[in-house]
């Protein structure tokens, strides 16, 4: 096996660090107590590529795209354990991409969510990046453009559909949807009994084969009535901001707006939605393209995922 350029640099840096640590240990006795292999392994998990790969693989294990079976989960688990050795091997990522893609694209395509497709695209990007002369630069470019384009399409859709911008969509979902009503219920903006009654009324009309389809009155709480249109526009502005900041060739401090807009979107949106894996993939893509300093970049991105996960679990525990 041959090392890629980036991995050779990392090896040299870790060796130098280990040597420095060994020297220091003679004086301080602290760094030297950490075995060299642990520092070597940790360095390969905790640098930027390692964190991106780890987030991606954990997502593949815990929430694989629909259609991809247990084999892609097992393979992702093996790759995660072997990450220090295979982190930039094109064949390792290629194998996971092939196994995942086979499952996804032989499944019923119209039963797949957009993040199932995105998962395969991202694994493909990791494979292609490993084949490039500069894997980190290639992955950064792929990650930035994927986030930018997908948010551009998402914004476009929300502008194309008239029932989103006028607040109808949110007014309905915040009165009926089991996941989305958790936040307004937790804030005491919506009565849980009312949302249950709404669900029963709507379900009876939609699913009772003996009932002729008919209009159903839905009780919308006054707060949600007022907020649904502003929330819709806030979503459009946030998604549009993510698209613009990731697609525009920003330089210097302006690139901070990428993380700022994406973090804001992820923290506002995903605690209520049952698609944490989508948030994790977006964070992995953002991290691959970040211009933030280390280790602040890795820590901030991981903290956002943990915050979303914590809020999501908290909402479930609090509201049910």
């Amino acid at each position: 096996m041959t090392s890629t350029g980036a991995d050779r640099h990392l090896d040299a840096a870790i060796d130098a660090s280990a040597a420095g640590g060994a020297t220091a240990s003679r004086h301080s006795g602290i760094a030297g107590r950490v075995p060299w292999w642990l520092r070597w392994g940790a360095g390969r998990y905790l640098d930027l590529w390692g964190v991106v790969a780890t987030i991606t693989l954990i997502t593949s294990i815990t929430n694989p795209p629909r259609g991809s079976g247990v084999e892609s989960q097992v393979l992702a688990g093996v790759l995660l354990l072997a990450l220090p050795w295979v982190r930039q091997r094109w064949w390792a990522w290629g194998l996971l991409t092939a196994v995942t893609a086979w499952g996804v694209f032989t499944y019923v395509l119209v039963d797949l969510d957009n993040h199932h497709f995105l998962h395969v695209y991202w694994l493909t990007a990791l494979t292609v990046a490993c084949l490039a002369k500069d894997p980190s630069w290639t992955l950064a470019r792929a990650g930035r453009l994927m986030v930018g384009w997908l948010f551009l399409f998402a914004t476009l859709w929300k502008l194309l559909t008239p029932d989103f911008a006028d607040g109808s969509f949110f007014a309905y979902l915040f009165s009926v949807d089991r996941n989305l009503t958790r936040v307004p219920i937790a804030l005491d903006w919506v009565d849980p009994d009312t949302t249950s009654e709404n669900r029963i009324a709507v379900t009876a009309m939609r699913h009772d084969p003996q009932v002729e389809p008919h209009p159903v009155a839905v009780q919308v709480a006054p707060t949600m009535d007022r907020l649904s249109a502003p929330l819709a526009w806030l979503t459009i502005v946030l998604e549009g901001a993510v698209a613009a900041t990731f697609l525009l060739p920003l330089r210097g401090a302006w690139t901070r707006w990428r993380e700022a807009s994406l973090f804001a979107f992820v923290l506002v949106t995903y605690p209520a939605l049952p698609v944490l894996s989508f948030a994790a993939l977006l964070i992995a893509m953002s991290l691959s393209a970040t211009t933030m300093r280390r280790p602040r970049a890795e820590i901030s991105h991981v903290m956002v995922i943990l915050a979303v996960w914590g809020m999501s679990e908290g909402l479930r525990a609090f509201v049910g």
């Binding site: 989103f164 109808s168 969509f169 939609r206």
Partner: protein, 165 residues
């Protein structure tokens, strides 16, 4: 980009729900695959029109789940014909005047002596009645819109189709 752009064209020019098809239209409209619903009537050889419980067709164990999912998300003539053909080939039973796919408990009753009384006679009340062979399937796919002025969920007939499997 090609897939996402094609999905925009497909969803805006055909009956594909914006939520599906590899694009990024999720959470943009109430015309969602999950909000869509079907009314299906199976006409048997005896001329009896029996409503089919469409929701039961979506259950994981349903033998027509794939065809149902396709027909709901993208109700083309081909997809609706495929669903009708799958229904005609499926083992449907009658429950409260509605046709549903035969479940494991129905199968047990049909294949073992679970439906027999102590005397060995069949207890008609414990054995699900099989639906007679289907000659025609009438399918209607609805989507829903939420009217803000009246806070009312309004169903809209998207496609109506008669299939002869």
């Amino acid at each position: 980009m090609l897939v996402a752009a094609s999905q925009v064209v497909l969803a805006t020019t055909t009956d594909l729900t914006p939520w599906r098809g590899g694009g990024f239209g999720m959470f943009s409209t109430t015309d969602n695959h999950d909000q869509r619903f079907l009314r299906i009537t199976a006409v048997t050889g005896a001329g009896e029109a029996v409503p089919v419980d469409a929701r039961a067709l979506f259950q994981p164990a349903s033998p027509v789940r794939e065809e149902f999912v396709r027909a709901r998300a993208r109700p083309t003539t081909g997809n609706l014909d495929a669903l009708a053909a799958a229904l005609a080939g499926a083992d449907l039973v009658l429950e409260d005047g509605t046709a549903v796919p035969r479940g494991p408990e129905d199968t047990d009753a049909g294949e073992t002596d679970a439906g027999e009384t102590d005397t060995g006679e069949t207890d008609p009340s414990s054995v699900a009645e099989a639906l007679e062979p289907i000659e025609v399937v009438d399918l209607a796919v609805y989507r829903v819109w939420f009217e803000r002025d009246t806070d009312t969920l309004v169903p809209e007939l998207l496609v109506e189709h008669r299939a002869v499997p």
